[in-house]
Structures are given as C-alpha cells and as structure tokens.
Amino acid sequence: MSDFEHPASSLASDRPKVIVLSLASDFGCQVQLSNFPYLLESLSTIDLAYWQLVISADMPTDYDLAIIEGAVTTTKHLKLLKEVRKTAHTVIALGTCAAMGGIPALAGHGPSPEERLEDCARTVYGDYAARIAQNRIVPRPLTDVISVDYSIVGCPIDPEEFSSVLQYALLGVKERPEREPLCAQCKIIEAPCFYTVQKLAADDACQEENNKLSGLYRGSTDIPCLGLVTRTGCGALCISRGRPCTGCRGIAQDANLESARNFIREQGRSVEEFDRALAIYCSHSMNSAVLNDHSQVSG
C-alpha cells in the first residue's frame, strides 16, 4: 500500500461488526473504554459482537473491525493475529502495549532479547520457568507481526482519542498521529518546566515561592521528565497533575534523542537513568532500528 492511499477504504457495512480482544496486558485500556462517557453513542455506530472484558459469548469467526489490546508474548498470539488479520478488514492497535510493545516488551529489552526473556522467566518463576508459559516469545507490538491500520497510544489510552480514531476507521480516513514531543503542550497548559523548577528550587530566593505550591511541582523533580522526547497529544496530562512525563505515548517521530541526552548531561543528571526511565514504555523502539531511521529523516 502506498502512503498516498487511505489505509483502508471505508468499511463495507453501515454498522460494521466489531470485536475487542486482549493479548498480554492488564486490561487497563479496555477499562478505559468502559469509562468513556459517550460509550453508548459510540456503540450505536457499530455492531459490537465481542468484547473480551465484558461479553462472555465466544469470539465470532467473522467480523469487520478488530480492536486489539496488549503485546504479543506467545506463539498462540501469533496464530490468533494471523487469523484476525485474514478476517478483519481493519485492525486497530489499542494502547501502548499493542502499538509499541509497552511495559511487556521490557522482558526483551537489551542486546540479546531471547536471553533476557529467559532471565526474566527464571527471576519470576524460578525452577518452574521451564514448565510455565512454554510457548513464550520475546514480547513485541502488533505491528511487528501483522499490518495495523490504526494505532492508539497511551497507558492507558484516552477514550476521546479512541472515539476519534474509531470514527476515522469507520470512514476509512487516514489518521494523523502527532510527531513532535510534549514540551509545547506543556507550555500551553502553562506548567513551569520540571528542569527549570529544580534549578529554581536550588536558589534560596525561590524556595519560599516553591513552598507555596500546593504539593504540585514538589518531590518529583528528581525523576527526569521524558516530555523532551515523548509524543505529544495527551494534553500534558501527568504534568498538569504535578508529575513528570513518564513517556507512555512513546518516543515522538520528531524527537531528537541525542540532543535530549546532551541536555540531561548538562543538567548534571545521569543519561543512563534517563534511558532507563525511557525504556519503561519504549524499550521495543529503543531496541529496534526505527529510531535511527527517524533521526535520519528529521536530522
């Protein structure tokens, strides 16, 4: 498919048959869907045939649209996905685990993913490691296994964003993922930057001013804010609640990791710590060559 085409011509039926299923995840994104205040309106536009979290019926064998949460961690997942891709006209990856590997992918983080996975299994299951989850594979996002038409990132996802992407999918309109890091959005909500705040906090004159903060920007400034390189679009949610960004939307396509690391170094912080924090959600993209390609394009 060339980039010039729509990712999917619109779904044939007026009320397409939809399934929602989950691979390796904590079901948080599905819970978020159920938190959506306009869920019923959304449902009126589709025929919801299966939803793993809330419908006890068996998964149907034919459907138009598959919404899939969670990372791929077993050979069973591989088989299921191939099946789903053959059947569904459109596939939506729901949440950071499905779209980019997320937290599950940490079990394969590092130069030798297979070894790392076995290490993790031994740490968790001890002597049982050989007998438990024998069909395990190095955790990966859906996109590594099948072609995905739409991705919704976030840990958990924002139901509003889900609703928009669902409408794109129903109409067959190309999505426009944000490419730039979070900082502009953080300025738009008029939050002082965590890095600057820390510098100010060291300055006695500002101490008093800082103490007046209602707990907001205090206590968490030793955690590096990953907004520097994280894909925007959440409205700087965590920062608006007084916490640095932990990077749940993944590394932005436009991100300049090298310069961000230099900045971290100049701040007298540890780059290793920054990378470790970044790996929590982004280990898969840090391992793959994808990032290097991007820096070429944007460099």
């Binding site: 980039d3 959506f36 730039e180 502009a184 008029e190 800082n210 520097l228 991100a255 310069s259």
Partner: protein, 358 residues
C-alpha cells in the same frame, strides 16, 4: 493622551472598576515559581511586579485552541460559527506584548480580517504596565521597549504612585468614575524621566542588529551554521508556543462519538514540526531540523521585515526560558554576526549574494 497620577493603593479601585464593567479581568498572577496571565477574582492576586509569563497575553486574541464551527456530516449543515464574545480587561501587559498585539493586528486585521481575532480584539480593554528588563529581555534591539499606542490605559510605576497614560474614552471614564487621580506635578515628571533612564540602563545586553536581514540572506546557505542549531533542536515547538508573535495555526475536524456531528477547530501550530511543511505525496520542503530552525528565524528577521517593515520578534525573552537547548534570537543573531567576522578574518571578503531566499 491624558496623563494622571494615582496612589499605588488605588489599583484596588481600578480593579473594582474593571470588574464592574467587564465580564472578566485577566492579569499576571504567581503560579509556583512562574507567572501566568489568568482570570483574577481579587486585586490581591495581581502581581504587577512579574518579570515574564509562561504564555503571552496574546493568547486572549488567538487562543491555543478555538472552535471555528460545529457541523453535521450527514446533512452538511454548519452552526455555532460565531466567535465567543467575552468582554475582558487585561491588566499588566508589558510594552513588548502590546507591540506584539500591534504586529498581530497587521496580520489578522490586514488584507484578510479574521473574525475571531477581530471579535476578541474589539471586546478587550488593555492596560499596560511598565517593567524592568532582566536576563533574556532584548526588546531594546527591536524598538519594542517603548509603546505609544495599542493600549487603553498605561501604568508607569513611580515607586509609591503610578503615572497613568489614558489613550481612550473608556479609559478616561474609568479613571473619572473610580479613581482619585491628580494631574502630574514637576516632581512626577522628573521621576518619570529618572525611571525611563533607569529602564534604559538596565539592559545588560543588546544584540548587534547591523544589517541583519542582509546578513541572513547571505548566510542562508551556510550549512555549518544551521546544522549546529539543527543538531540541538528538540523539535518540541515550545518556542513557538510561548512566542507572542508566532501566529501559525492548524485547522482540524473532530467527529463526535455518534459519527454524525463534529467540531472544526483551530489550534496553534509551529514550523519546527516536521509535519508543518509536508505536502501532497509526503513531500516535505523543510525536511531537516536545520532547515526548520533556519526558516523560523528567517520569517522573523527577514520575511516579515520585507512585508511589514518590522521584525516578528518583540524581544520578550519567553523562548529563551522555554527552549532547553538555548536556541534564541540572540544566539541566531550572534551566530550570524560571528560568521561574518570569521569570514572577514579568513578572506577579507565581504558578504556573498543570497541565492535561495524563500
């Protein structure tokens, strides 16, 4: 212009007058270690001693996101396209920010009138206030440290009193009705002059603006110069978000959950984003960070200069605070001037001809 003197405490009366006459009073208030322009309930929240704010008050004329209309996809109807009308008094705008409004006026009220901007502008009462430059303020380089129009009322701080400059009829009415004001005395005038001198002397740094547009054109293809800043840029767009005169916006549609109705809105955009210059068939005419940073300042120092005769920077220093990798007007100007000096040193040569001005 009519000049009056009021006591410092009279600000409370002024505030009361504003509250009685406008739906909303906005002004600088403290927000942790920073200041923001926000809706104020009480005069005590007002911090006229602020140095700078995270976002400029121009956000009241061009909002970060703004509804343009709502629509029904099925019937093709559109509705709710009227601008929201809130009468607002903004108190405490510095000269640079009022100058920014004048620059925006030429863009949004010039050849094309933007109805949303025009409505916000019409329903806003502007009160300026004097300031003292601190680190990063370079308004003196752009002549935006002074302001003679664009406000209704201006307050110059004379320690225990304010000198009021009233420029509009509503301003005079407000002063008459709510303030115990007197005419300036010879001492007030002396103090004003002394303050102006103190202000001018407080600038510790002024960028060298000599031949800036010409120099920019000449250095437009200096790869190393632009690569240096491009390598640093985090592509975050924070600089454009906080800039009072960066005015680019994007227009988007968002469908409601029903899929039938939706919202068309605009939101701030920035030329530092890779998507900004992407056109049909994924062609990008500014594909690298270096080309994007070069373009941003080109627009500011050359593009707008050839159109309006003014540069699109008021020297407010906000981008210096927002940019984590120190990409600022002062750095760009410095790099351009420096490369000129280097060039002369190396070859004794003058300025080369620009061959690729946008």
């Amino acid at each position: 212009m009519i000049y009056k003197i009021i006591a410092k405490q009279a600000i409370e009366d002024l505030f009361k007058g504003l509250q009685e006459n406008y739906d909303e009073v906005a002004g600088p208030r403290a927000c942790g270690p920073a200041f923001v322009f926000d809706k104020l309930q009480h005069a005590c929240e007002l911090r006229l001693d602020y140095e700078s704010t995270i976002l400029p008050p121009t956000k009241y004329f061009l909002a970060p996101t703004e509804r343009l209309m709502r629509f029904n996809r099925v019937t093709g109807e559109s509705y709710d396209s009227e601008p929201v009308q809130t009468s607002r008094a903004i108190i405490g705008m510095h000269p640079c920010d009022i100058n920014a409004v004048l620059l925006l006026d030429e863009i949004f009220l010039g050849d094309f009138i933007d109805p949303h901007y025009a409505a916000a502008r019409k329903s806003t009462f502007i009160i300026g206030t004097s300031c003292m430059p601190t680190v990063g303020h370079i308004c003196n380089a752009f002549g935006t440290d002074e302001i003679h129009r664009g406000f209704d009322l201006f307050l110059t701080d004379l320690d225990d009193r304010y000198l009021l400059s009233c420029r509009s009829v509503p301003a005079l009415e407000l002063v008459d009705k709510y303030l115990a004001a007197s005419d300036p005395t010879a001492k007030d005038i002396d103090d004003f002059q002394e303050r102006t001198k103190r202000f001018k002397d407080a600038f510790t740094f002024t960028p060298n603006m000599d031949q800036l547009p010409l120099l920019y054109g000449a250095k437009y293809n200096d790869e190393q110069l632009w690569k240096d800043v491009g390598d640093d840029c985090l592509c975050c767009g924070a600089c454009a978000a906080v800039c009072p005169v960066c005015y680019c916006f994007d227009v988007c549609d968002k469908l409601d959950a029903s899929g039938q109705t939706g919202l068309r809105y605009r939101s701030w955009d920035s030329c530092l984003k890779s998507e900004f210059a992407e056109v049909a068939h994924n062609h990008n005419f500014r594909p690298t960070r270096a080309s994007r940073v070069r373009y941003r300042f080109y627009h500011k120092f050359v593009g707008n200069f050839s159109r309006q005769g003014k540069m699109l920077c008021v020297g407010c220093g906000r981008c210096m605070r927002a940019c984590k990798v120190n990409i600022t007007p002062a750095r760009i100007i410095g790099a351009l001037q420096q490369s000129q000096i280097d060039k002369e040193d190396a070859t004794g040569d003058g300025i080369e001809k620009a061959d690729d001005a946008e």
